[in-house]
Structure formats: C-alpha cells, structure tokens
Amino acid sequence: MTTERVSGVALALLAAAVLEECWRLRLPLGSLATPGPAYMPAVLALALLAAGVLIAVLGPAAAPLAAVGWGEWRHTLAIAFTCAFVALALEHLGYRLTMTLACAFLLAIVERKPLVATLAFSVGLAAGTYFVFDTVLRVPLPRGPFGL
C-alpha cells in the first residue's frame, strides 16, 4: 500500500471512468480526419490510464500510505466542511451572515479561540469585506433574510 500504488490505481480508475462516460453519453468519436467530441477526451483518458499504470507498477519505492502523515485530517475535514457550508448557504443566508458563521465556527470551535475575539474578528471581517465589495466596488453580493 505505497503512495505510488494507490495514486497510480486511482488515476487509472479515473481514466477508466472518463472512457465509460464517453461511452454512456454516446459522444461521437468521429474519425482521425474529423475528430468528434469524444476524441480528445478518449485520447487523454488513455494517456492517463497508461500513466497511472506506470506509476503503480514502476514507481520508485515510496513511503507506505500511512507514513505520509495524515494527522491533520480532522482539521482538514472541518475546514472543508466550513467551505461547503459557505457554498450552500451563501445565496440563501446572504453573504455577511454566512461568512460570520463560517469564520466564527473556524475560530471558536476548531481553533478554540476566546469567544469575544472570535465574534469581533468574524463580524468585522464579514462586514468589512462586504462594504469594500458591495458598496465601494459595487459588486452585488447576495443578501439573505432581514436584508443581511
């Protein structure tokens, strides 16, 4: 279970998935003289497949997967989750509310900073950036309930 094996196999699987999708979506392949929409994706997928197999099989002896150091995965998950929350809530809760919640979550719960500092920072950041973009630069940012 070295990193090389895992990544090589993953890439090869991705390539296979692309080829399968070209087939399923019935994208015409065309010919060498008139390549169709599936032509280049298919060629690239084959190249990726070859590369994946080569990496898995011939890659230099690499560290086992566990040794890479995934220690921070909880943190990573929290941050990713926060970003996903922002993507989902941005157009429903409005910019300022969403960003304040996201920032506060990261600082207070993930980083365990004191509550007052967290709130001050989060509200300040959200309101400040909103002001710069919406009012000064006139880029419309989504507003949520209560006109937030």
Partner: protein
C-alpha cells in the same frame, strides 16, 4: 523616428495633464487592490469598473481601465508570494518559487523583485508597442488555427521542464489537467461534455477557481492542521530588499521574460498564464542551478512576473493597431472605446493620435506610479505574515471564497474551488505536482479547438500543418526539441530530472 518622438511628446502632454494623471492613479490603485485579492483578476476588475467610466471621456476611460489592467498584474504577485494563493490566474507560477522565498525569509526581496521586474517589463514592452504596433499586429494576424496548434504543442513541451520530480507523475498530472479542460460545451459540435446538467459548467471549469483551489486552499488544508504552525522567518527591515546577488540573478530573467511575454501576448487568443509558464520553463532550462527551482530560485519569480506584465502590453497591440480584441480584456476595453464613440479599427492610430499616444504615455506613467505604490507597500505586506496563522487562515479563506464568487457571481465556482482544494491536498500528500494541472486545464480547450478548426479548414487533410510556413517551422522546432531531448536522455543514461528526484529523495530520508 523623429515623428515618433514628436508623437510621444504629444502623448505625454496629454498623459501628464492632472486630470488624466488622476484617473491613471485611480486605475492603478484599484488594479492593485483587485490584483491582491485572491482570484479576482484584471478581467473582473475591469468589468466591475466599466460602468464607472461611462461618465468620462474616451481617453480618461481607457487610461483608467488600462491602469486597472496592469495594476492587477502587479498586485497579483503579492498573495502568490506571501500565501501561495494566486492573485489571479497568471500568477500561478509565482506561487512556486515566490512562496518558497517567503518561507526562507526572503519574502520582501521576492516582492521587490516582482515589482521591479514588472516595471521594467511594462516599460520596455510599451516601447515595443509604440514602435512596432502595426507590423507586429499584422504578423499576429497570420497566426491561424494551425499555427496555434503548433505553438501550443510546443507549449505542452514546457510541461517537461516544470516538474522537478518524476516525469511520469508530471505527465499524469498534465493529462489530468487536460482532461479537466474537456468539461463544457464542445464548440465544434454543440455537445455538452461532462457537465451533467449544470449549465454554469458550459464554459468549463474556470481557471481561477481551480488555481485558487489547487494552490491556495490546498495549502491551507495542509498547514492549518499542523501541530506546529508554519515557521515563517520574520525578516528584519534591512533584509526586506533584495541583496546584490539576488538583483544580479534576476537581471537576465527579467530581460528574457519581457521579450517572451510581449511576443506571446501579441497573439490573439493566448492567455497571460501561458507567458508566465513559458518564462518559468525557459528560466529553468537556462539556469545553472535548475534544482533550485521550486525551492526559492530568484529567476523563478523574476521571469514569470516580468512576462505576464509585458504580455499586458502585447495584448494591446492587436487592439490598438487593428481594432481586434485579442482576448476578453481587450474586448472590454474596445467596448469602452465604442461606448465613447471611438471606433477602434486599423485607422485608430491615424485618426485619433491623441488617444493612442496619450494612452501609451499614460502607460509609462502608470508603471512608474505602480512601482512607487508597490515598493513601500512591501514592508506593509510582509507584516501580514506576522499575524498568527490561526487568525490568518480563516481570513484568507473568506477572501478566497469571496474573490472566486465575485468573478462570476456563481456558487458553482466556489464548489469547484473547494473540490480542487481537497484534490490538491491529497495530491500534495501523495507527492504530485499541481502546476501541470493548471497548465493542462488552460491548454486543453485551445489545443482541441485549434486541431479541429485546422482540420475543418483543410477538410480533414493533415497536410495543412506543413503547407503553411509558420506552422511548419514551429512544428519543426518542436520535433527538434523532442529529438534533442531523447538523444540527451539516451546518451546520458539518466535524465537530469530523475537524478534530481533521486537527490531529493536522498535529502528527505537523510
């Protein structure tokens, strides 16, 4: 020659008028701001401020928009160097060595070199614009789909010089990036590929969300959770400016970057990001110490930053000389001109000399303004690094999401950024390079379109590539390079890259 100087005098008399100077300054200021924000690049900046220019006359409007354009190029390097987040797509290459320099405490030096390089490139390329605009524009027009394909294939070659690790891994990443570029509407047949009903993906995965995600978000995901926060060497004031050694190392790359960027910028349809990629590759190839690239090579910052600034002037050549937009940004500027009743076309330089020369002169002025703006700000920006990382990274996240959202007002972009961020994190863990992915993403649609257009032009005959002189020459050069490399590979027994990789592995385990 005398006539040109006379015209330039006219231009300066226009450009140095206080009101015009003011608008150039405003443009540069806003441009820098826009450039510093992750993801929001010159196109977004110009589009945002276009309405504000409607109340002005043509010259002021163009001067302000141009100020935003290259101001954004100056500003884009700031977040790239300090936080490894591309300020805009073209600054991706600066993330590699610029950030490494910042980690070593040379962040101030990197910023200064970027600013000075941008200034020199900007100024010199304007000279090129001034003297050579019409003949260059005509030459650029002769680049049709077959020539583009040949050039882009040459550009693919650049990938080989970007990686410092295993060749197969970089090729795999390039293939992955190229595949990502296949998402969207196929311009030749009308099929929606891999969009799964999401109309926003019709134009493909944007470069901005992917670049910000792969570099910036991935960086945060990887470092935020570390037990010990990243140890950034905090420089003293004295150490903020580059040493004499560093200046010497950056001189030639700046020169080469300027020429390369300008030439690539002239070609209609080329993206700025290509000029910085090519410059990086050229510098790495020509360097006496290629193993430094990726770990803080000065040339890796000086070259690409100069290239993308001179590409800005290059992009204006077809716009001013022919009235033809060479990309989305010149298209907006052309529209701004049309709105003011100036019809851009081949006769623009003759019919409206005060516009053209005033514009050229204001670009000189603007570059000086930006240099003055940016150098003192180096100290200010570097101090941002003093903020404790646990407070810094949520702020960076907010800015990144804001920037990526603001470009198109689309939440889909934020999702792409997030997903690519996670992918980038995994790739870092598994020891893959992410720069080839971005290059592949940018090149893929162009390569495919050029190939199929060429075949449409020739009704399916591949001979078109050798029948046309420019395309033939470029392909010949590409073939030559491939053969040369194969020869070197065979002869030396071990590719220098593989040797590098082994040396690095040795370093890591020791």
């Amino acid at each position: 020659m005398l006539e040109t100087l006379g015209n330039l005098g006219l231009g300066f008399s226009v450009a140095l008028a206080p009101s015009i100077l003011l608008y150039a300054f405003i443009g540069c200021l806003v441009g820098t701001l826009v450039g510093v924000l992750p993801g929001v690049g010159p196109l977004a900046g110009i589009s945002l401020l276009l309405p504000a220019t409607f109340g002005l006359d043509a010259t002021r409007a163009i001067v302000m928009l141009a100020g935003i354009y290259y101001g954004a190029m100056y500003g884009g390097s700031t977040t790239s160097i300090l936080m490894r987040i591309p300020g805009e797509a073209a600054s991706v290459m600066t993330c590699l060595d610029g950030y490494a320099m910042a980690r070593k405490g040379r962040g101030g030096a990197a910023l200064a070199i970027a600013a000075v390089g941008s200034y020199i490139a900007g100024t010199v390329s304007i000279v090129g614009l001034m003297l050579l605009a019409p003949p260059l524009a005509d030459f650029a027009l002769r680049f049709g789909p077959p020539e583009y394909l040949a050039l882009l294939l040459l550009g693919l070659f650049v990938l080989a010089y970007m990686s410092s690790g295993s060749m197969t891994k970089s090729l795999a990443m390039a293939a992955f990036g190229l595949l990502l570029g296949m998402v969207g509407i196929d311009q030749m047949s009308g099929y929606f590929r891999f969009a799964y009903g999401v109309v926003s993906l019709g134009d493909g995965l944007g470069v901005v969300p992917v670049a910000v995600g792969l570099f910036g978000i991935a960086e945060i995901l990887a470092t935020a959770g570390q037990a010990t926060p990243p140890r950034v060497v905090k420089p003293r004031l004295r150490e903020l400016l580059p040493s004499r050694e560093e200046w010497r190392e950056s001189a030639a790359p700046i020169g080469r970057g300027t020429v390369l960027g300008f030439l690539i910028g002239i070609l209609p349809g080329s993206a700025h990001i290509i000029s910085s990629f090519v410059s990086y590759a050229v510098e790495k190839r020509l360097s006496k110490r290629p193993e430094q690239f990726g770990h803080g090579a000065v040339a890796g910052v000086a070259g690409p930053e100069s290239a993308n600034n001179s590409a800005t002037s290059g992009a204006m050549v077809p716009m001013l000389a022919l009235g033809v937009p060479s990309g989305p940004i010149p298209a907006v500027m052309l529209a701004a001109m049309m709105v003011h009743g100036v019809s851009p076309g081949p006769l623009l330089i003759q019919q409206k000399p005060e516009l053209f020369w005033g514009f050229v002169a204001s670009m000189y002025v603007g570059n000086v303004v930006l240099l003055i703006l940016n150098l003192p700000l180096v100290g200010l920006f570097v101090n941002i690094l003093r903020v404790p990382y646990t407070y810094l990274y949520p702020a960076i996240l907010v800015f990144s999401m804001l920037g990526v959202y603001a470009v198109n007002g689309s939440v889909v972009d934020v999702w792409i950024m997030l997903i690519m961020g996670v992918v980038g994190w995994v790739l870092r863990k598994l020891d893959f390079e992410t720069a080839p992915v971005v290059l592949g993403l940018v090149l893929a649609p162009m390569i495919e379109l050029s190939l199929r257009q060429s075949l449409a032009m020739s009704d399916g005959h591949y001979g078109i590539f050798v029948q046309r002189p420019i395309a033939g020459v470029l392909l010949g050069v590409a073939l030559l390079l491939v053969l040369l490399n194969l020869y070197a590979f065979v002869r030396r027994g071990l590719d220098w890259r593989a040797r590098l990789a082994l040396a690095e592995k040795g370093e890591e385990t020791s």
